[in-house]
Each structure stands twice: as structure tokens, then as C-alpha cells.
């Protein structure tokens, strides 16, 4: 069974030979750098070293075209302040220990939005790979590993346009603007993906949101229902009408209060299910049943703690989830730099045993 068939059968509960073998969310770059000094052959990718199953995404460009001109505004020994290609001004720590601090966002007023939206023409041919055409379509349709398509981001994109604080306030002060931006996302996405989904039979689609933290969602279910749900339905219904069966949403944190709304919006797979935020894949499966596929939920902090904690974490989840299928094991976020290489190797040795127990 090849990786593509395995992925499809796993997600459709059709008895694959084993579960897919991925670290679905990836690794922080500092983690890989650390591991080079702990046994990972220098220069070798973790993909090759560990022999993960392959998967790929069609590389569509969801960003502004033209991009903003990247430039460094200020720099010293510790920091760099720069404008990114998405128009956000960030402060970057040169130690690479933190995600950037956000200083300024491109949309401060409605007028900013009116100008910015002109950079988001879904029909711009530069959004597709230069090699887009029959040969690439044939490759995607016949390759032996799963191929996915990204559907952008509704909340996450709006947040990156205007900041979390301004977006939170705009739900109350400028609801029309929030509606406009989120409606725009849905229309933009449907138009952008049209040539791709009509030509390629994708195995899955992803939406990135990151709209929760350990205490719950950033916004209320009421706001989700009013502002996001109609747009989710528009996008997922279009994707499903073109044969995409698995619609995945990537959101950190505890999104339990929004889970029913994601399902209502046509989403049928959630990840990475952060354990420290209170997410538990076994409980979620028991509550929502097989309609909701799951990815992740292996506590990254167990991989820091040691072999006993890793075994305990896997034993508490994998036997049930592997038997039930519709689940892909993965650490519940990028593997952090405090995970020793030896711990990760041990974790994968256990995963390899469990994924065959379908």
C-alpha cells in the first residue's frame, strides 16, 4: 500500500496496512540544529533520517502580489526590526528563541484595507506554480503520496492584517470591516483554487487559523457563527464539490468551544490538539465520533521529560486511536528545542510499533 492509499484509507476508516508515519506539524529549526550535535548526521534532513511517509502541498501563493518590499529598519546585536513581505513590521530576536514580536500591521484603517485588497487578485497567474499545466496535473493525480491544497486562513489572516487586539476590537467597533475581510477570504479562496481543484483530485485541504490558546478560543462561538461560519461553508462546500473529502484546520490551543462550529462549517479534521491546552484526542473521538478525524495530541512536554513519560503518553492514546483509525499520530506542535534527539528516536520507535496495530 502506498502512502497515498494509506492516507485515504486511514481518513476514511477503511483498514489501512498501518497508520501514516509523520511528524505532521514539523520541527523548530533550533531543534534540528541541536540534534546535529546529538547524533543526527550533519546536513541530513529529518524526513530522510527517520523515513517519514511523504506528502506534499500544491504551492499556491496566498500572499500579497506584489509583496511588500522587505527591509531592515533597525538592528543591533540582539534584535532586528524589519518589514516582512506580508507588510507586517516585526521585531526579531537574533537568538531565535521566540516567535517575532509584532510592531505594526498593514491594516490600521478601512482605507488601508481598500488599498491592500488590490494586492489580492485571485486570478493573478503568479499565484500558481510556473510549471502549472498538464504535466504537473498528471503528476499530482498519479503520485504515490497524498497531495493537499491550502485554503488559506479566515481568522488568522484577518489577525495578520490588523493585529489580534485590533481585530478583537473591530468585531465590536467595525463589524462591517471584519465581515468584509472574512467574506473576501472565502471569495478569494474559491476563485484561487478553482483551476487546481477542477484538475487535481486532492487528498486533503488545510486551513490555518491558530485561533485559540490554553484557556479557550480567542473569539466567542457567537462571533464564529456570525462572521466565520458562512464563509467556512462557502469554502468547504466548494472544496467538497470538487472531491476533497478531508478538510483539516490547524489551530493551537483549546478550541473545544468551537469544535461543533468547525464541524458545522464543513471541517472534518482538527490538529494539532495541544495537550497542555487540555485537548485529548481520545475524549474528542468519544464525544464527536468518526465524523471528526484527528491529528497530533502527543504531548511535546512528555518528549522533554523522558522515556517513561513518553511511553505513558503513547500508551494512554495510541492503542485506542490506532484501532479506531481516522487518526494520524504526531507531536502536538512543532517539536521544541528542549527535546533531546534520543527522546525523539525513542518516541518514534514506539510510534512505529503502534501504527501497525490498526
Amino acid at each position: 500500500m502506498n502512502a497515498r492509499e494509506r492516507f485515504r484509507r486511514t481518513m476514511q476508516y477503511e483498514n489501512p496496512d498501518r497508520l501514516p508515519f509523520y511528524q505532521f506539524i514539523g520541527f523548530w529549526p533550533e531543534t534540528i540544529n541541536r540534534w546535529y550535535s546529538e547524533g543526527l548526521p550533519l546536513g541530513m534532513s529529518v524526513q530522510d533520517y527517520f523515513g517519514f511517509d511523504k506528502r506534499e502541498m500544491i504551492p499556491l501563493d496566498y500572499g500579497p502580489i506584489p509583496q511588500f518590499v522587505p527591509k531592515t529598519l533597525d538592528e543591533d546585536e540582539r534584535y532586528r526590526v524589519e518589514v516582512r513581505t506580508d507588510g507586517i513590521t516585526v521585531k526579531v530576536l537574533k537568538t531565535n528563541t521566540s516567535m517575532p514580536g509584532f510592531i505594526e500591521f498593514p491594516v490600521k484603517t478601512r482605507s488601508d484595507w481598500e488599498k491592500l485588497r488590490k494586492r489580492y487578485d485571485p486570478g493573478d497567474p503568479r499565484r500558481y506554480p510556473k510549471t502549472w499545466g498538464d504535466e504537473l496535473i498528471d503528476y499530482y493525480n498519479t503520485v504515490d503520496h497524498p497531495v493537499g491544497i491550502h485554503l488559506g486562513s479566515c481568522f488568522g489572516w484577518a489577525r495578520f492584517l490588523m493585529s489580534l487586539e485590533k481585530l478583537a476590537i473591530s468585531f465590536y467597533r467595525e463589524p462591517d470591516l471584519v465581515h468584509e475581510i472574512m467574506d473576501f477570504w472565502a471569495d478569494f479562496t474559491v476563485q484561487l483554487i478553482k483551476p487546481a481543484v477542477e484538475a487535481v483530485k486532492f487528498d486533503f485541504a488545510t486551513i490555518w487559523e491558530d485561533m485559540a490558546y490554553k484557556n479557550g478560543p480567542h473569539i466567542s462561538p457567537r462571533q464564529f457563527r456570525e462572521f466565520m461560519l458562512p464563509n467556512y461553508k462557502k469554502v468547504t462546500e466548494y472544496a467538497k464539490s470538487n472531491g476533497i473529502d478531508i478538510i483539516m484546520v490547524d489551530t493551537d490551543g483549546n478550541h473545544e468551544a468551537l469544535t461543533p462550529l468547525f464541524l458545522e462549517g464543513g471541517v472534518n479534521c482538527l490538529y494539532p490538539l495541544e495537550v497542555r491546552a487540555g485537548m485529548n484526542a481520545v475524549s474528542i473521538r468519544k464525544k464527536y465520533g468518526r465524523e471528526l478525524r484527528l491529528v497530533g495530541n502527543i504531548d511535546k512536554t512528555a518528549l522533554v521529560s523522558g522515556k517513561e513519560a513518553i511511553k505513558r503518553e503513547i500508551d494512554s492514546k495510541l492503542p485506542f486511536l490506532a484501532r479506531d483509525q481516522g487518526y494520524i499520530p504526531s507531536v502536538d506542535h512543532c517539536v521544541p528545542a528542549d527535546v533531546p534527539f534520543e527522546h525523539f528516536r525513542y518516541y518514534l520507535s514506539l510510534i512505529k510499533q503502534c501504527i501497525t496495530q490498526v
Partner: protein, 207 residues
């Protein structure tokens, strides 16, 4: 006062200024409008957050509504009108640039009547120690988002001990990876589950 409180609770950012103006015109002292109107409203907002009626967006919006009301009240406040219930020095630890959670805590602490020394982000342990020595806060708050940066909290507590000032302050920590177990392990006095609980813990310490 009830109108001001309700404007905060209902996140009525357009109505809060009118409610504040009415209070001033009725010769209600501005500090009473803050303590009996705004602050009480923020307490109810906090309760709604704890009960999952309100979410992060509402906490941010409540803070914004309060700022809008303060535009009207501030010119009428006399120095010393607002009695501070305690002083909190707070910052995100070295190596970490996240400030959304910390900023929400700062807003809620201010609403609760604390004097705040906001040290910002990427704060080295020496700066925390210096602040405890020079500003004499009752409470030191530290925030971290990542497991790889939260270990700095332990370094700060060690530095405070070495400087002989650990016992001058209560220490509260918070952030995505933080647990009470971790707080106990590194010698902090409390771990805050969320911003509202954190402020309630701080209030209990100065009561």
C-alpha cells in the same frame, strides 16, 4: 455609576463616554466613577470570562472600553485620588517577545487598582532583580509562551535569591506552558491559569 459599570460589562465603547460625562455632570467624584463604576464592571467581565460567557476578544474589548471612559474621567482625577492597592512589576522573560497575554494582565491589574511597572518583553534577570530592589513592588509577575523560554523564570528566581531580595516579593508566573507544578518546582508562589485568575491571586495577596 451603574451606567458606567454596565457600559463596561456590555462592552459599550460608544456609550461609556456619555455615562462618564453624566457622572461628572452629576458631581460624582471621578475616582468614585472609576472605583465604583469601571472597576466593578471589570470584575463582572472577569467573572463572565471565567464562566466562558466572554472570551479573549471580550477581555481586550473591555480594556479598550475602559480606556475610552478614562479619557473623560482622567482630567477630573486629582493626584492621590485613586488609592493603589499594591504594586506589581511584570515582564516577559528573556528570550521571549510575546506580550499579548502580559498586556491583558496589565490592563486588568490596572483596572483592579494596582500600580504597575511594565518591564516589557525579553527582560533579563538582572532587570527583574534591579526592579525589585529599586521599585519595591509587592508582586513580581513573569510571563513566557514557550517551554524553551519558561526556564528563564527559574533563573530569575535564583538571581533574586542570590541578591537577597526573593522574600521581598510574591512571585506569580503565567503563560501557555506554565503549570502550578512548575511554579512549585522553581519556587514561585503561584501559577496563573489565566489573566483573570492571576489578578484575583494578586488581589488576595494584598488584601
Amino acid at each position: 455609576m451603574g451606567k458606567i459599570r454596565d457600559a463596561i460589562v456590555n462592552l459599550d465603547i460608544d456609550g461609556v463616554q456619555n455615562a462618564c460625562k453624566e457622572a461628572i455632570e452629576a458631581d460624582i467624584p471621578a475616582y468614585k466613577a472609576v472605583t465604583d463604576g469601571m472597576a466593578k464592571g471589570m470584575v463582572i467581565v472577569g467573572e463572565k470570562y471565567e464562566n466562558n460567557e466572554y472570551f479573549l476578544a471580550e477581555l481586550i474589548m473591555a480594556g479598550e472600553t475602559m480606556k475610552e471612559g478614562m479619557i473623560v474621567l482622567e482630567p477630573h482625577l486629582k493626584s492621590g485620588d485613586l488609592k493603589k492597592i499594591g504594586k506589581v512589576a511584570i515582564g516577559t522573560v528573556r528570550g521571549d517577545l510575546h506580550d499579548i497575554g502580559k498586556n491583558v494582565v496589565v490592563t486588568l491589574l490596572g483596572a483592579a487598582g494596582f500600580d504597575i511597572v511594565d518591564l516589557g518583553v525579553d527582560v533579563p534577570s538582572e532587570k527583574f532583580v534591579q526592579t525589585v530592589k529599586e521599585d519595591n513592588p509587592d508582586i513580581l509577575g513573569m510571563s513566557a509562551l514557550l517551554t524553551t523560554t519558561m526556564i528563564e523564570m527559574e533563573s530569575v528566581i535564583k538571581a533574586l535569591k542570590e541578591a537577597g531580595v526573593r522574600d521581598k516579593v510574591k512571585i506569580i508566573i503565567g503563560g501557555a506552558p506554565i503549570t502550578q507544578e512548575y511554579a512549585d518546582r522553581i519556587g514561585a508562589d503561584a501559577a496563573a491559569r489565566d489573566a483573570v485568575q492571576g489578578v484575583n491571586i494578586c488581589k488576595s495577596w494584598v488584601a
